[in-house]
Symmetry: C2
Subunit: 246 residues, 2 copies
């Protein structure tokens, strides 16, 4: 798993926080406004709350034209496979996905952009909280930009190993023989950066709440991984690294 | 999308917090112990921290035998498709997954358990923080248990609609024409409950940290959705509902 393999391309999934400039102040303000209401009934799972307490004051609700928009009705069509075929397909898909590995040695061979487009479009079919689709996919091919990304990630990852995550984490990772050097970020011909949008912007410039944005983006990442494996484009996924773009 | 369709089976993905009994006290204690160290270098993204501050004190690190376990080496094999084939496969997978819908009307037709087993095994191939695989999949077929689950979810969801999430959320959902009544939880022959494990237990009874457990489980959910769609087992996914099992 850790020797040089004929891997075709590396696609790096980096979960990044999408923070709009100058938005922090208003977030804090909104939190204050809604706190009283939130306290009246606690969340079942605080951990799942995931920034959705950023909803606007109730007085703003009527301003949202988009919520009432007419969307074209697309009839749902479904054909069922015979049971034998269902079992066969589920078995084959399992066997294919079970071959996926997180590798650290990446080939520099090019991959058609059409494939990259398709796997990202596939990821975009993921379900999301209130269908807000809170993700941004950024494809990077430029050598200099890739290298800058590598530098940022290595700097943060070194801090992870040396102090941020603690010795237990380093111990737990030892059997994986990883470290903070990520040469493959230069080698890979394509990087896919995945940004989660903690909120969007409506047509009228107002803040649009993205419910459960982190869970939604992570589900999209899972579908992206499946699409890459179907295509047999190998990859290094690093969904557990994050940095902030200000 | 919202009329009665010949959907074969419903599989409900419910992201649930797996909380071990009597564990809360020690979690709080550990948080206190590690706070001083954590403050020395803030997390890049607080939101991604995701309970991984629960790592044990550094003095415990040497107790972890599992981290040093010998695991069998499985050579990584990879065959590359010709470019045309890659494009074709990525296109077909996109078209198939783009047909997935979140539906509210579910058929009661049975589905082979082998298919359910395969899609769950497929979800289990997902990557996870430090390869901790912090998920538990529970398959429910018993009518009474399904109904009890429905009652719990409806009770919580009603609170979501009436007060917890606020009027903005209700407004944003209006175009989806959903509500808190989830009859399909009775109708569906199979429910898959997905628990995230905020920590595990090592062989020696010690707490095992599950890094980025929520992101990891959500990625597994994405792969589960892809597997279900490949199999053309239709589903209602509700990954945004949670409740606590104590």
């Amino acid at each position: 798993m850790f020797f040089l393999t004929p891997v075709l391309v590396a696609v790096i999934c980096i979960l990044v926080v999408w923070i709009f400039k100058n938005a922090d102040g208003s977030i804090e303000r909104r939190k204050g406004e809604t706190r009283a209401r939130a306290e009246s009934r606690p969340w079942v799972d605080e951990d799942l709350k995931d920034n959705t307490d950023l909803h606007q004051g109730e007085e703003d609700a009527d301003d949202w034209q988009e919520s009432e928009e007419d969307v074209e009705h697309i009839p749902f069509s479904h054909t069922r496979y015979p049971e034998k075929e269902m079992v066969k397909r589920s078995q084959e898909f399992y066997e294919l996905l079970n071959k996926r590995r997180s590798v650290r040695f990446i080939s520099d061979e090019q991959v058609p952009m059409e494939v990259i487009d398709n796997v990202i479009k596939t990821a975009g079919t993921a379900p999301s909280g209130a269908h807000t689709e809170p993700w941004t996919f950024v494809v990077v091919k430029d050598l200099d930009v890739k290298h800058k990304i590598r530098e940022i990630i290595e700097e943060e990852e070194e801090i992870n190993y040396l102090k941020r995550m603690g010795r237990q984490w380093v111990t737990d990772l030892r059997k994986l023989r990883t470290n903070w050097i990520k040469e493959y970020l230069d080698t890979a011909p394509v990087l896919i950066l995945i940004f989660k949008q903690v909120h969007g912007l409506a047509a009228n410039g107002k803040r649009k709440v993205h419910y459960y944005n982190e869970i939604s983006v992570s589900i999209a990442c899972g579908i992206l991984l499946a699409a890459l494996q179907i295509t047999k484009v190998c990859l290094e996924e690093g969904p557990f690294i994050s940095f902030i773009i200000l």
